[in-house]
Symmetry: D2
C-alpha cells in the first residue's frame, strides 16, 4: 500500500534480511566516528570500555582535530567520508558532526550499507529532512537516533512501567526540562530554536512513554531572562501542552537556566497511581542546620555527568542492535515525529493558537 509509513517498510526489510555486518567471527564491531567535536569525543570515550565495539576511524573536515582524537585512541584519521565508508574496517558509523551535515552523511552511510548511530536533531531545515527521509527509505539499513534520554535508567524504568500498565490508563504526563545555563549566543543562533534544540528531547520522551502521537499542540513562552536568546529571536522559557490520541494530556515546561543544576523530571499519572523519574544530586550528602533540614547536594550541573550512564547504554544498545540485526530503539521516524511536534510548537507560539497535528504528517 502506497501510504504505508516508510518506517514500517524499512523495518520489515531489516528484520527479514539484515545479517550481522561483521562476518569474520569476531564479535567486536569496528566503528567509524564522524565528527571530532564535543559529542564525537564523548562517544569515543564511551566506546572504549564496551566489549562490543572498537574505534577504527575518526573523520572530520578539520583534519587536525580528527588526527588528534585518532591518536588518542590509536586509530586512523581522515577528512574524507568516502574513504572511511569504503574501508574494510568500518562496520558501523557514529555521526556526531554539525547538524546540517547529518542528512548527507546518513545517506552516504546508508548507501554504503553501514549501520548508523546519528546525533539529534536530524536537521533544523525541515525540507532537507523530508527530502533525506525519502531517500533513506530506499535503503535497508539500521538507523538509531541519538535521543540519549531514552537510555537514562530512571526515565527508561518509568517508560517501561507505564507500558506495563503500572498506572493504568495514562491521563497526565508532566515533563520538567531545565538546563543549568543557556548556551552561547553563537550556539543559540544556529540551534533552530528552543523547541527543536532542547524541548525535542521532551517531545521524544512523551512519545516514548505514552506510545502515542500528539494530536494538538499549544505553546507559550518568552525570553524572560536571556538577552542572547532575545537577540537571536529565540525564547528561554516555555510551556507546551499536548493532547494525545487517548485524550491524555502532556505538559512540558522548559527553561534554559536552573541555578541548582539539571532539573529533568518526568511524572506519569493515571488511574492506578503515579510514577516520577527524579533528579540526580552530585553526591549523597544531606545537611541539617538550625534554619533548614535535609538540604541535599546540588543537582548535577554537568550534562555529561547527568546522562553519563544514558550515553553508555545508548552506545551499547546500538552495538547490540547491529550485531543482532534487530530494530533500533530510537528510529529515524522517532526523530522525524519529534521534529514535527517542534515545528508545530513553534507555529503555535507564533500564532498564539492551538495547532492540530494529526493532519500534519506528510
Amino acid at each position: 500500500m502506497a501510504t504505508a509509513a516508510p518506517e514500517t517498510r524499512v523495518q520489515t526489510k531489516m528484520s527479514a534480511q539484515l545479517t550481522s555486518p561483521r562476518r569474520d567471527g569476531c564479535s567486536q564491531l569496528r566503528v567509524a566516528l564522524f565528527g571530532a567535536g564535543r559529542m564525537g569525543q564523548r562517544h569515543a570515550e564511551n566506546l572504549v570500555p564496551l566489549p562490543g565495539g572498537i574505534l577504527t576511524w575518526v573523520c572530520d573536515v578539520d583534519r587536525a582535530a580528527a588526527a588528534a582524537l585518532a591518536e588518542k585512541y590509536g586509530c586512523r584519521a581522515s577528512d574524507q567520508p568516502q574513504e572511511v565508508l569504503a574501508s574494510a574496517d568500518c562496520d558501523a558509523v557514529i555521526i556526531a558532526s554539525p547538524t546540517d551535515t547529518h542528512m548527507e552523511l546518513m545517506v552516504a552511510a546508508a548507501r554504503a550499507g553501514k549501520p548508523i548511530l546519528c546525533e539529534k536533531p536530524l536537521d533544523i531545515d525541515s525540507k532537507r529532512v523530508v527530502a533525506g527521509r525519502e531517500e533513506l527509505a530506499g535503503f535497508d539499513v539500521l538507523i538509531q537516533m541519538g535521543f540519549n534520554r531514552r537510555f537514562d535508567p530512571g526515565h527508561r524504568a518509568l517508560a517501561e512501567a507505564v507500558r506495563a500498565g503500572e498506572v493504568g490508563n495514562l491521563e497526565l504526563c508532566l515533563i520538567t526540562s531545565r538546563d543549568p545555563a543557556p548556551p552561547s549566543r553563537d550556539y543559540l543562533a544556529r540551534a533552530g530554536g528552543l523547541f527543536r534544540d532542547m524541548m525535542i528531547h521532551d517531545f521524544d520522551m512523551m512519545r516514548f512513554i505514552s506510545g502515542q502521537e500528539a494530536v494538538t499542540v499549544a505553546a507559550t513562552g518568552g525570553a524572560l531572562f536571556s538577552n542572547d536568546a532575545r537577540a537571536v529571536g529565540d525564547i528561554d522559557t516555555a510551556a507546551v501542552t499536548l493532547t494525545l490520541g487517548s485524550g491524555a494530556i502532556c505538559v512540558i515546561n522548559c527553561s534554559r537556566r536552573a541555578v541548582y543544576g539539571h532539573d529533568q523530571r518526568i511524572e506519569a499519572f493515571g488511574e492506578k497511581g503515579m510514577l516520577v523519574s527524579t533528579n540526580h544530586t552530585v553526591h549523597g550528602l544531606e545537611r541539617y542546620a538550625a534554619d533548614r533540614t535535609g538540604a541535599r547536594a546540588p543537582l548535577i550541573s554537568v550534562s555529561r555527568d547527568r546522562y553519563r550512564q544514558a550515553y553508555t547504554n545508548e552506545l551499547a544498545e546500538f552495538l547490540d542492535a547491529v550485531r543482532e540485526g534487530r530494530r533500533p530503539t530510537v528510529s529515524f521516524e522517532d526523530a522525524y515525529r519529534a521534529l514535527l511536534i517542534a515545528d508545530a510548537a513553534e507555529r503555535s507560539l507564533r500564532e498564539g493558537a492551538l495547532v492540530r497535528l494529526d493532519r500534519n504528517v506528510c
Copy 2:
C-alpha cells in the same frame, strides 16, 4: 475616577473608618454561623479552641439542623437570618450555606454592618456575582473569602518566600491539584464545573503567589475516567496554562481522582532557584523491602485532615482582622478575579482557543 475598582474604594474606607465591632471591652467576638451542613460543622468545631471567638448562633433554613448544631455548642438556633443579624450578640458572621445563597446573605450581613467570612465560590452564576458586587461596593464592611489554602503553612511559606524575592523574578509556577476521589454525580451537577468548583483554588493560589493577574488563559481537558462527570457535561482532568503580566507562565494540572490521596503541590521557579510546597503523608513511616526502598505512608486522603491547620488559621485570621479593623487576607475581589479566570478557562476549553483576560475585567 469613576472606574476605580470597588475593592479599592471599600478598602480605603475600611482602613480609615472601621472600628472594632465589639465595644464592651471583651476581646471575644460573638460569631453567627449561617449553614449547618458539612462546612458549617467544620467551622463550628474549629471555632471552639480559638480564644478570639465564641459561637452564639447557628442559622439554617433547616431549623432542625440548626438546632442540633446549636445544642452541641451551647448556642442559639434560628431559621431567620434577619433575626440573627439584628441580635445583639452577633459581632461577625460565617456564611457556609449553599453556594446560591452566598451573595444574598453577604448583602444582608453587609447591610447589618457585620464582618463576613464567606465560603467560596461567590456563586456559579456570574450575573448574580456582578450584581451583588455592585451592591456590596456601597457598604463599608470586612469580607474575607474562604480560600483556605492561602492559610496552609507550606503554601503560605512558599508565597511569602516568592514575594520576599527568594527565587528572584518568578518565571514558572506549576500547580498540581488532584483530589482523592470525585464527588457524587449530584454534587457535580450543581458545582458549576471543574474550573469553578475545584481549580478555582489554584487560580487563587496563582494570584496569591505571583501577586499578578492572568493575561491569557488556555485550557484543555476531558472526562477521561468519570462517567458522572461526563453525564453532567463536566470534565475530570484538565491542564490550564496562564501567562501573567510579567511574562511568567503558570501551568495548573488537575484531576478529580488520585488513588494515593490529596496530591496538591506548588512549584515556583525563577532566576535564583525553586520553591516547592510538598504533599502530606498520613504519618512518618517509611518501608524498605527487597523490591523498593523508602516507601512512605499514603498521602492524606481526607480533605478535612489535609487542610486542618489551614482552616483553623483561616478562622483565626478572620477574628484577628475583624478585631484589628484591618484588610482581610482574601478579599471579595480576590474571589471575583479567580471566578473570572474560571470563566475564561471554560470558554477556552469550549472554543479550543486562547482567551485574553486583560480586557475581560468589567
Copy 3:
C-alpha cells in the same frame, strides 16, 4: 505461684471484674485532673474536643493555679485530693502533678477505685516505686502510664508492622532521640538524670516495638556541651546498647540539644527489610538554590506540636479503655520495666561495665 509478676495478677482481676465506672448510662466520663502545671494544662486542653470525657475537677496544692485552670474550663477547683476522689462527679483521674507525688496519688486514687492516667516517670526514687508497686498490686484498678510516644502515628505504625512480621525477625533497632534544647538547670537538678528523664521514652519504645525485655545494658555518655548538666552531675549526650532475649540488638543515641529541632527517629531492621519512623518538619516547603537542593523546613522544635496527635490519641485511648473495662495500652509494669532499664544504664555508665538485667527484676 508466689513469684508471679504483680502485673499479671492485677490484670487478671481487672479483666474479670472491672465494670464500667460510670453506671448512669452516659458515655461521657467525668475526669478529675491533678496538677495545674504545664502538663496538666496540656491534658485539659486535649480533653475538650474528645466526646468521651469532660473535665469536672482541677486539683492542685496551689489553690490559685487550680482555680484559674478550673475557671477556664468551667469546672470545680480543689487543693484537697480526698475531696475530689470522694466526689460523685469523678469517674477517672489524670495525674500530672510533680513526679514525687505520683506514687502517693496513684495509691489514693486506686483506693478510691478510680481509673488512672499518670504521667511518667513513676518516681525517680526506686524505693518509693517498689513500695508503691506492692501496694497497688492489691487494687483492682486501671492504670495507664503517660508514655505518649506509643500513640504517635508513625511510631505506632512501625511497632504494629514489626509485630505483624513485616521485617521478619527483628535484628537491629536504632533509636535516635534528640531534643531541641536542654531544660533549665533547676529542672535538670530534679529530673533524675538523662536516662530516667529522657531516654526512658526510648527504653519504653524498645519494649513496645520488640515486645521483648532487655537482657544486657551498656551505656556510655558525657556532658559534652551543657554546663548545666555538668553542674548537676548529669550528662547531655549518651548511647546505650541493649541486647534482647532473641539476640536482637537495640542502640539508642540521645542528645539534649539538636539545633534543627526534635530529632526522634526509630529504625527497625530484620530479615525482610527495614522500617523507619521519620521526623516531622514544621511545614512542607522545600527550597532549591545554587548551593543546595531540597532543603526542607526545620523540624518541629516545640514538643507540644511534635507530639500533639500522640497526646490526643493517648487521652482518647484512656477514655476508651476505662469505658470498655479493658487493659491499658501502657501499664504500670511497662513504666516499671523502663525504669529498671534506666537504673541499669546509669549503673553501666558509672561502672564502665555491661549490666545484666535478667536477674535484676526483683
Copy 4:
C-alpha cells in the same frame, strides 16, 4: 624521640626526599598489578580510562590467570614478583593478592622502592602485621591502603564538612554498614571475622571523619541468621560503641545481609547540626500507588556499582600522590590503627567488657 610513630618518620623522609619515580618526562606511570582475582580485575579495569597510569604487568602465582588478564589489557604476565619488581617498566604496584601475602609483597615492593597501593586488610594475623610494620618503617616509600570508602563522594564530602567545622564539635557519629548478602562459608572461614573483614571499613571511616583515635571500644553481636557465620565461629550482626578522645561517641551497626541492598549511611552530629551521607538507589524512579507513596527503586546491591566512583577516585589519587611525591590519603598507619580497633572489638565481644585502646598501641 625514639618512640615517634613510624608513620611520622616515614612521611617526613618521604616529603623531603621522595622524587617522582618516573624520570623520563612522561607523566604516565607504569603500574604492575599483583593478584589477578576479583579485586585485581577491578583495579585493572579502573586503570584504563585514567590518563595518569598504564598497566604493564599482571603478576599472580596462578600463571594462567595472570596471562589471561594480561592479554586483555595488552601487558606482560608473570608469576615471579621479583621479576616484576626488578623490571624497568614498573613505576608503582597495586597489591590485590590474597590477604596473607600483603605484608610480604609490601616489604618486597618497598625494598625495590616502588610506591604501593595495597588492598585492605593488612593481614588478619596481628603478629605478621606488627613484624612487617617494623620492617617497612625502614623504607622510604609511599604506601596507600585500599580503604576505598574514603573516596566515595558523599562520605568524603561529609568528612570534609566535619573537618571544616560545619557541625561544630562532633558529638555523635553513627555509621550503618549493611551488605546485601553474606559471602560464602569459605570466604567467611578465612576472612578474620566480621570486625576485621567488614567493620574495619567503618572503623576507618570513624577515624577519617573525626580525625581522632578510639579510646574505648564496646562490642556486641551474634550470629542471628547466618548458619555459615555460626559454623565458622563468626557473627553476622553487631553493634560497636567507641568513645573518642574528645568525648564524642561513635556507634557502628553492621549486618551481613540487607534485602534492600547496600545500606551504608554515615551520620555526624554536633553543636551546629547534622550531616548525613545517604544511600544510592539503582535509578531515580519513584512510585505512588494506593497503599504507599514515593517508593524508590531498590538500593544498589552490587558492591562494584555502589563504590564505582570511589574505586576510580582511589586509583587516581594514588597515581597523583606518586607523581607529586606527596603523602597518601590512607596510610599504612591508618590501616594499622583500624586493625587495632577491630582486634579490640573482638576482645570486647569475647569478654563482654569494655576495652580501653589508648594503652593498646604498641
